[in-house]
């Protein structure tokens, strides 16, 4: 399995994703600059990392979707190739139309960095065998409130594509039903693409993949990806 982390000029969790993939779960991973027009030969997984792709003074990801590499990522996804968008990466995937819906400002209008508790609600390349598992994963975003039309929400649920939901197990979040940002239906991540091969999520599993950092729940997800993508 070979992975690529796309580096937009304002990506800042590109290193985090690279470290989790290459150092923690041992996947050969290269960085690809956003001005490239093609992915390296044999790329299995493309990660769009967290950050502020182009400063994101406009809507997050609104400019990134015009980067040359995004065409190549879209083609990769259309062929059934795997794409993982974390935080800003999720925002870019929705802006690029590769996932439905939008991520808007947190309901309390502040950037928030803290651990959230999510439940795995759908099966897929990043969650295989983990259905129903409750994971503690950090969030760090100002615009993570998932919104979509009723039709889309129904479709996501009917097709079993809500990968992660915030759950009220953490006493810190109990007052908000566990939902840190006001996302509709407590959605924290969704699957899409022709073969459920595209995943976007707001929490940061790549920052919770080592005991040393006090939490390795995220590692379970990366190990899933390795199992799913290794022939």
């Amino acid at each position: 399995m070979k992975a690529v982390v796309v580096q937009f000029p304002g990506s800042n969790a590109d290193f985090d994703a690279w470290h989790a993939l290459s150092d923690v779960v041992g996947v050969p991973t290269t960085m690809v600059f956003h001005k490239e027009t093609a992915l390296p030969e044999g790329t299995d997984l493309v990660v769009l990392p967290g950050g502020f792709s182009f400063g994101d003074y406009l809507r997050c990801g609104a400019i990134a979707r015009f980067s040359p590499i995004v065409q190549a990522v879209r083609a990769h996804a259309d062929r059934g190739g795997y794409v993982l968008g974390i935080c800003n990466g999720f925002q870019i995937l929705t802006e690029a139309g590769m996932l439905p819906g939008a991520l808007t400002r947190n309901v309390h209008l502040r950037f928030e960095c803290r651990d959230a508790v999510v439940r795995v609600d759908a099966d897929g390349f990043f969650t295989r065998g983990l259905l129903g598992r409750v994971l503690r994963l950090p969030i760090a975003h100002a615009e993570g409130r998932y919104q979509a039309s009723e039709d889309i929400l129904r479709e996501l649920e009917d097709e079993d594509r809500v990968a992660f939901r915030y759950v009220p197990l953490d006493p810190l979040f109990a007052a908000r039903g566990g939902n840190p940002n006001g996302s509709l239906r407590d959605i924290a991540g969704i699957y899409g693409g022709p073969r459920r091969n595209v995943l976007g999520l707001m929490p940061h599993p790549e920052r919770a993949s080592e005991k040393l950092l006090g939490n390795d729940h995220g590692r379970l997800l990366f190990e899933c990806a390795v199992r799913s993508l290794t022939p």
Binding site: A13, A20, G55, Y57, R110, C113
Partner: protein
Amino acid sequence: MRPEPAVDLALAREHGLSEEEYARACEALGRTPTFTELGVLSVMWSEHCSYKSSRVHLKRLPTEGPRVLQGPGENAGVVDIGDGFAVVFKMESHNHPSFIEPYQGAATGVGGILRDVFTMGARPVALLDSLRFGAPEHPKTAALLRGVVAGIAGYGNSIGVPTVGGEVQFDPAYNGNILVNVFALGVCRADRIFYGRASGVGNPIIYVGARTGRDGIHGATMASAEFSEEKEARRPTVQVGDPFKEKLLLEACLEIFAEDVLEGIQDMGAAGLTSSTVEMAGRAGNGVELDLDKVPRRARGLSPYELLLSESQERMILVARAGMEHRVLELCAKWDLDAVVVGRVTDTKRFVARATAGHDPFDGEPTADPSTVVCDLPVALLTDEAPKYTRPCLEDPRPDDRSVDTARFHFDAHRDLLELLGSVNVGSRAWVWRQYDHIVRDGTVLRPGDSDAAVVRLFCGDGDQRREKFIALSVDCNGRFCELDPREGAAMAVAECCRNVACAGAEPIGLTDCLNFGNPERPEVMAQLRDAIDGIADACRALKVPVVSGNVSLYNETLEAGGVRSVLPTPTVGVVGLLSRPEDARGSFFRGDGARVALLGMPGGGALGGSEWLVRRAGKVCGAPPAIDLEVEARLQSFLVASARLGLLLSAHDCSEGGLLVTLAECCIGRGVGARVALPWVTTPTPGALFGEDPSRVVVSMEPSRVDAVKALASEHRVPVLFLGETGGTFLRVDGVVELSVSELRRRYTRALAQLVGDG
């Protein structure tokens, strides 16, 4: 273009120069300076750039040590962390801009200190901030707090440098002059440090980054005068930050550093293009010549004066090796940055700027007229020969009468503990740090609120050279103690900051300071500054921690109806410690039931002066502050470091604001673990015994099986250990003093700041 005003003494005064200073400039030049030159002189001779009041005192700080690779005088200090790697760090203030426009003031404070760090060749990997606001009930406090925190978050989160710690304090002395001190640290190879030197006559000077506008003109001068209502109206002098531009600048510079193409580099901070090029020329013993026609700009009709003094953010000056400029320009183009050769290094030892009269690049190419010299000043006049003052000092700046009858205040341990825990100076800071991305870059081992100091993993080097190193970081100062006794208070700030780092399991290896004081032209303020510097020096010598960088911020005072109000003397310090291995990292709080609880150090004399309890009761900073014995402190810290390396303790939490009882409560609140303890020396509970803030005390917990080893190590280090009881249950029970549920303690503690800002 507007005609330039005629230069005379009145205009010089408006520029902040004294009559003597103006006379000195005219004499040195043998003529009247031009308008542009007057602007340059005024910023370079401002307190902010010249350190003219503090320099003579700063020389007394100990700056040397076996690990020091670069001490004060460069953009930041550099300390060796072993295996060929180094940390680069500094702290800087952005007080006045943050009061005028809290979001942008704080944001650009972050941007500025990050540039100081990466200009040395280091990737910034940690930010901390030390903030001071006025009384919580002051009408501006809540909005200033919201704005400053949002500004720090807005910049740091975007550029992707985690804000891993800091401190916030409130006191009415900061009502009209808040403090925003930002600390940044980066990591680099010890043999790849870059300096701000314009070396190599003939080498090209390259301007990189944001275009120049009118923002921030005379920011350095503004930072060098006291505050007034009128100045609050000077909003246009505040710069506007663009963290995305700085991210591009950071990545481009790091790629440029990786190639062998640079002679020197410096950011354009205070006094912009002028101070960066002048300081670089000064350090290299060279001159510079700038062609202002080439400077990228974003506003029409900028005059030479404005181009030289603008403090537009996110700009750097690079001196490339001759013939290598194309490579620098290529790498900047990759990151979509403007980069232009704007001048050359000369051997004239003069700062020369040329411009074509009336030329504005927005109107096309310059006319056929040759450019003329608009500024020609000796570099030395602007640097080493800038004015230095030994300003008059009071003999003793301590308040005459520090006695206070504490017995007249009502005291109730139970009620007072809850009150303190819920107060803005003691309660939880989670509302602040949750707005900061404190985990980006996968290095945060102990997060804010977990320990007395942040513990961060550094990823050093690349390829086969990669290493992981672990450091601890803290910033600290108690301005109230400094008000009551500047020397003792400053020594206690250093001691507490180092103690925080030692509690987290690290050996302190270097210190940076940010000295915030009032108007140095007043003898009592100057005496506070002098004594605080001596206090820092005392503590640094005793604890063997060198000062490697620093910043001085004076004129922190407000002209109010009732007269002048200075801030509390606030010599903030930032300390970096090194852990021998990740397992040394130690949190503050009780981790589970059945652990033994002990107090390291003497119970203390119960001095209440300057304590949060007394200030709340008396309504002012008063009393005799506690004193510190630096030898006792040094032994305590060496015990803390040694115990971390042996893995003896489960937790260690320093006693500071609120005193011993608050510290015990915090140890319980952290992870919701109760404790039952006795304070055998407290026969009758008194405010001093419970809420006094004596230094050199740490509450620790350990497995019962470690008790003998802890006793042995403590006796080896001659550190007193008093066993108080053990952890367990859901209550904090202090025999004969208080019995409160941990959930009640936590409820008070968590609401403290949220109540002030009006949301949770």
